[in-house]
Subunit: 273 residues, 2 copies
């Protein structure tokens, strides 16, 4: 793949430039020649849905995914229904923004009974999937790193995400492969192969050593130990040729001037992804 | 199991009272009526091997395991041989102290090639196992939490530890189940069952929410979200009836007066393990 082809797949996951509004991020992408963006819902809300759509369109961008739905487990049936309602809004927003894919961060457990929480995730996706299909939006289960099991997601391995996704048709539910979340997994390459056409997104960043912070310690590609290119090759061998999101939660990068962060992102993307 | 029976299985993993020397820890256990201890090698070294043995014997203690061997991967064959030599010393120390079990923290990778590092772990255990057998010491592979994959151990799931252990006879190589490291794993209960008679140790602590620190944020049992009793039941159903080590890396507990930390440990052990 030529540099130009690879670069044409780069998508800015909006959290990487956390200080920018959606308008600023869309304009920043246009200035940097980046053709894809993955907006976050709180930024869309801040800007307004119609305006968000306009900023994206006016800057010639396509939307790789909307971040994020999920957060299914809750202690009462009423709360779980409220979460589901919020997920339906997320699907509608994704459809309106022209995103094919809604990323699901499935949520932590409200009690120590993690098996029960995993059942609630399954139920939530079962209830959401037909609604998403009607809106032309695919649900992409993103397994998070096990260190987030108690606070963000009870879905923690690609194997688990695959098993969950396989309960549905491949044009309804798939998975996201995020190198930060899965690089440690002894089953990684087998599970990427297994995911095949269900891979709906590929996210890159790096694992810094020593890790400065559990949440804000993700690294720019090339600053850590993840075999990003090897994982990308596996994802491509499995059939994925879509956009590649750069999604970095990192205080130092958030503190950079946005255009500089994008310039660095492009440079490292070409060199390490 | 009666409270008395359960309490008779409590073992103080020495890192829980990190400020104490081995002599102080052994005397502390005797005062608290704790019958088992798991010394750390740097504390044994500090005290001297013969003296360590005497402190343990004079306080009427048994040794549940020696912490720790492992750290097999290294960039050159020479360095790997040096690591192996150090592991042989660890086996000898374990034998001298009357420990049946040497815990293996297998080590991080010296390069991004994690698959290669995992091969070096396998090679290291293959070379160490006959020596350990001669000394009457079993090797116990401890899978660490995946958040330590880059800095402490490329062996990160119980499935992986089981697969590695199964290359050897069950009276040579087994596994340690540490709730902190494995609680998140969707395959946990199946892998505990699979481990069966290979379970050579069971370690308890808790996962605090929010997690204050990647290394020093482990909690006292009952302060977190791990279903410790459920996991203990599974480990017992698989056949393990040996000592249960309390192993807590936590700055606040390290800052407590040692006897108070042991009193709290006993109380929480009875209530939550």
């Amino acid at each position: 793949m030529s540099e130009q082809e690879l670069l044409s797949r780069l998508s800015l996951n909006q959290i990487t430039t956390e200080r920018w509004s959606l308008k600023e991020a869309a304009e920043g992408c246009a200035r940097a020649g980046i053709g894809w963006i993955a907006p976050w819902r709180h930024k869309v809300q801040e800007a307004g849905l119609a305006e968000s759509k306009r900023y994206i369109r006016d800057n010639g961008l396509r939307v790789s995914s909307l971040c994020r739905g999920g957060m299914f487990p809750a202690a009462t049936a009423g709360e779980r229904e409220a979460r589901l309602d919020d997920n339906r809004r997320a699907v509608e927003e994704a459809a309106e923004l022209g995103a094919d894919v809604l990323v699901l961060v499935c949520g932590p457990s409200p009690t120590p009974d993690i098996a029960q929480a995993r059942e609630w995730v399954r139920e939530g996706i079962e209830k959401l999937a037909p609604f998403a299909k009607q809106h032309g939006v695919k649900l992409a289960i993103e397994p998070l790193h096990p260190m987030y099991a108690a606070e963000r997601s009870v879905i923690v391995t690609l194997a688990q995400a695959n098993s969950l996704a396989e309960r549905f048709s491949p044009d309804e539910v798939g998975v996201v492969v995020d190198v930060f979340h899965v690089w440690w997994d002894p089953e990684l390459y087998g599970e990427i192969k297994r995911a095949g056409s269900r891979i709906l997104g590929f996210h890159v960043s790096d694992w810094i050593v020593p890790t400065p912070d559990m949440l804000l310690g993700r690294g720019m590609m090339g600053d850590g130990v993840i075999e990003i290119r090897k994982i990308r090759s596996a994802v491509e061998a499995a059939g994925y040729r879509g956009p590649i999101e750069v999604e970095i939660f990192n205080q130092a990068i958030w503190d950079m001037q946005g255009d500089e962060a994008l310039a660095l992102t492009k440079e490292r993307f070409l060199k390490h992804v």
